[in-house]
């Protein structure tokens, strides 16, 4: 598990989006979105900004470093 926690799943579900829809909107596959949500993969800075921008949030609101 990667040390970067995130609230991508909660934000996605709050908007009624599927993992495929989110992936298509930001140029990632459904599997990658699932891996990010389960903390099995840390997205690149570019992908993190794309997700945050889509949800209208700051990157630091969406992603948090957890020791």
């Amino acid at each position: 598990m990667f040390p970067i926690a995130n609230s991508v799943r909660a934000e996605r579900e709050a908007r009624g989006m599927t993992q495929s829809e989110l992936g298509a909107a930001i140029g990632l596959t459904r599997q990658t979105v699932a891996a990010i949500e389960q903390r099995h993969y840390s997205p690149s800075l570019e992908a993190a900004f794309r997700i945050a921008r889509l949800f209208g949030k700051g990157v630091d609101e969406l992603f948090q470093w957890e020791e």
């Binding site: 596959t29 459904r30 891996a35 993969y41 570019e46 992908a47």
Partner: protein, 137 residues
């Protein structure tokens, strides 16, 4: 399972199985000394692999909704890692193939050793790609 995962699995299994058959056949020939045509054996192996790959990819493309999706950053990272490991296997394999010259291998046998190194490197590349997928699933 994504299209690229299925594709890598198909490539790994088909290459391993078909070239295992090729090299076992070759080994039996060297041991027993039965006459056979190595060129036609190699051509048949290549054509068989091409046929299995083409038909197999047509089948998995028909069952995958993401067949036209471009690889994203995660899959490109898996690919880079797999290519890096495969490259080292290829370099070591090539050096070993060259070294066979010093234990009396002739031209065709050295060629087979190089072919074995290429097959091993490609199988390693596909296997590392699949393992990376599993670990990060």
């Amino acid at each position: 399972m994504s299209f690229r995962y299925k594709s890598a699995l198909l490539s790994l299994v088909s290459m391993a199985a078909i070239y295992a058959w090729y090299f076992i056949f070759l080994l039996i020939h060297f041991r027993t000394g039965h006459p056979f045509n190595p060129v036609s054996h190699l051509i048949f192996t290549i054509l068989l692999l091409a046929f299995v790959q083409i038909v197999g990819h047509l089948i998995i493309a028909g069952t995958s909704s993401d067949k036209y999706a471009a690889p994203d950053e995660r899959e490109r990272a898996f690919d880079r890692r797999a290519t890096m490991v495969g490259y080292y296997v290829l370099i070591v394999g090539a050096l070993v193939a060259i070294a066979t010259l010093h234990i009396g291998f002739d031209g065709p046998k050295i060629g087979d050793a190089v072919l074995f190194a290429i097959v091993l490197a490609e199988c390693t590349r596909q296997a590392v790609f699949l393992i990376a997928h599993h670990k990060a699933a």
